[in-house]
């Protein structure tokens, strides 16, 4: 067996073992929407009961997204901004060029 084949088989072995671990761990998670899961017994009731008078937002999603986890949303915005700048760098676009009419 050539070294290349050995390496391929090794990669497959690692992938399968990792996938097996992940699938086993996933089978232990509470099912989606389970009312007895930790998320549904602690976090959700708090937001449902307190988010309106604490944040003034009538919508739970907005209260969680923009207020309780505002730092997370700041990170998301920064990711989008960084992605835009990366697009500019990859595509090689110059900024600050002359406006229409002045270009040769």
């Amino acid at each position: 067996m050539t070294p290349f084949r050995t390496r391929q088989n090794l990669i497959w072995l690692v992938i399968l073992v990792a996938a097996g671990i992940l699938f086993y761990a996933g089978s232990q998670l509470p099912p989606v929407g389970d009312p007895r899961s930790p998320a549904a017994t602690h976090v959700s009731p708090y937001y449902i009961e307190h988010s309106h008078h604490e944040t003034g937002a009538p919508n739970f999603v907005t209260a969680v997204l923009a207020d309780y986890r505002g730092y997370d949303t700041l990170g998301e915005t920064t990711v989008i901004f960084t992605a835009g700048l990366a697009c500019l760098l990859i595509l090689g676009v110059e900024l600050g060029r002359s406006r229409p009419g002045e270009e040769p």
């Binding site: 008078h53 604490e54 944040t55 003034g56 937002a57 009538p58 919508n59 999603v61 907005t62 209260a63 997204l65 923009a66 207020d67 505002g70 730092y71 949303t73 700041l74 998301e76 915005t77 920064t78 989008i80 901004f81 992605a83 835009g84 700048l85 697009c87 500019l88 595509l91 676009v93 900024l95 600050g96 060029r97 406006r99 229409p100």
Partner: protein, 149 residues
């Protein structure tokens, strides 16, 4: 995309929906507290109107939002978000703890306004980045098209 590929029919057809779509984008941003929506969605809708205008009327008609200003708009959006966070620190609060902002309103209304401020920041950032990417992608086509002429 120097020259518009729109005809007079396209030009007339885009005049009607664009103001309405922009108004809807502002509605989505501001009404994101009460209904599905918010800065990301509203910013994307707003960028879509700008792209429509770019496609139909060409790059000459940029409404003052050229590439550089789109990049500036994105920077200002992220800066507004982070700046509101810094403002709360200056008012002796935690980072992004809008309750301490010095506004003459009830406490939960102050948080409401802080949330609205960051939603506007997010919308500005998303609009700027999407317009920037659109311009960057159509720039290559322009050069090829110009060479062909």
């Amino acid at each position: 995309m120097r020259s518009p590929f729109g005809s007079s029919i396209l030009d007339a057809a885009c005049r009607l929906p664009v103001p309405l779509v922009m108004l809807f984008a502002v509605y989505v941003i501001i009404h994101g507290h009460d209904s599905p929506g918010g800065g990301f969605q509203g910013g994307a809708i707003l960028a879509a109107t700008v792209m429509l205008i770019r496609m139909v009327r060409g790059e000459d008609d940029v409404w003052g939002l050229d590439r550089t200003r789109a990049a500036l708009l994105a920077c200002c959006g992220v800066g507004l978000y982070a700046g509101i966070g810094l403002l709360t620190i200056l008012c002796n609060g935690n980072y992004l703890d809008y309750g301490v902002l010095p506004l003459p309103l009830k406490p939960e209304k102050v948080r409401f306004m802080g949330t609205l401020g960051i939603e506007i920041g997010v919308a500005m950032g998303v609009t700027g980045v999407l317009v920037l990417i659109f311009d960057a992608l159509t720039e290559g086509e322009t050069q090829e098209g110009d060479d062909g002429k």
